[in-house]
């Protein structure tokens, strides 16, 4: 199994300009990802994603900002460091006009370059593929209790 890159694509019935705003602006990141988000739209800017009452905070570094074509950033750095090449995961959104809408391509890479032990690596990858756990801790507990009852 290749733990290098996660790839997805989705067609959206909205212009690339609109989709770009949604994937890159903090006010929208709060709607589709974290409970709170702070992010300056500038390459190199370090912001943060916050879950709960700062129960979980991830630093995020903007890598590339090319509206309305590409937005990329790094996150999940080790030990509270600012995410840079070699210590983090690189997420890239590529936007392409498609009919009246947009084809949005996502890649997340860096599972290898973080240089973790293979077990940790696989765990991190699995968490990112199936990772609603972080967002639904109570629901997950509840689901397990339902499954066992």
């Amino acid at each position: 199994m290749e733990y290098g890159t996660l790839e997805r694509q989705i067609h959206i019935e909205a212009s690339p300009e609109v989709v770009f705003e949604v994937v890159s602006r903090p006010e929208h990141l709060r709607e589709w990802w974290a409970d709170d988000a702070k992010l300056d739209p500038a390459p190199g800017a370090v912001g943060e994603l916050v879950w709960g009452d700062r129960a979980h905070v991830e630093a995020i570094t903007v890598v590339d900002l090319d509206p309305p074509r590409r937005f990329s950033f790094r996150w999940v750095a080790d030990g509270g460091e600012a995410p840079v090449a070699g210590n983090s995961l690189l997420v890239t959104f590529d936007l392409e006009p498609s009919g009246a809408g947009t084809l949005l391509r996502l890649t997340e890479s860096g599972f290898r370059e973080k240089g973790w032990e293979i077990a940790v690596l696989e765990e991190a990858y699995r968490d990112h593929v199936t990772g609603w756990e972080r967002f639904l801790p109570q629901l997950q507990t509840y689901a397990v209790s339902l499954g066992s009852s």
């Binding site: 593929v129 990772g131 109570q138 629901l139």
Partner: protein
């Protein structure tokens, strides 16, 4: 097969936190939930309305308030759907799609 309304209801972070609180407490009102969330009572009442419409919670009038409880069968169904979709990024991309398409419709209207 995903129920879009159910998905949309559970896709909002505030509503997920409300569900978390209701799971822990068993029962809650717009007032009691708003005291524990960084949103107004009115906003909580609106979110409860969304959860009620997709059957995730049921309200019982109690004086001037409505007491809400989780519908366990419907929540189990929602959790099963989340597991079936299975991917954090798939879930996020679905939200991105919903939000972008809603904005697009607003701007065209």
């Amino acid at each position: 097969m995903i129920d879009e309304d159910l998905w949309s209801a559970i896709g909002d972070p505030t509503r997920r936190r409300m569900l978390d609180l209701l799971l822990v407490d068993g029962v809650g009102t717009a007032t009691s939930l708003s005291e524990r969330l960084p949103v107004t009572r009115q906003a909580v009442a609106k979110h409860l309305g969304v959860l009620d419409r997709v059957g995730l919670v049921h309200g019982t009038p109690a004086g001037r308030e409505v007491r809400y409880r989780i519908d366990e069968a419907q929540l189990a169904r929602a959790v099963a759907q989340l597991s079936a979709v299975g991917s954090a990024w798939d879930a996020r991309l679905r939200r991105i799609k919903q939000i972008a398409e809603a904005i697009e419709r607003e701007r065209k209207a």
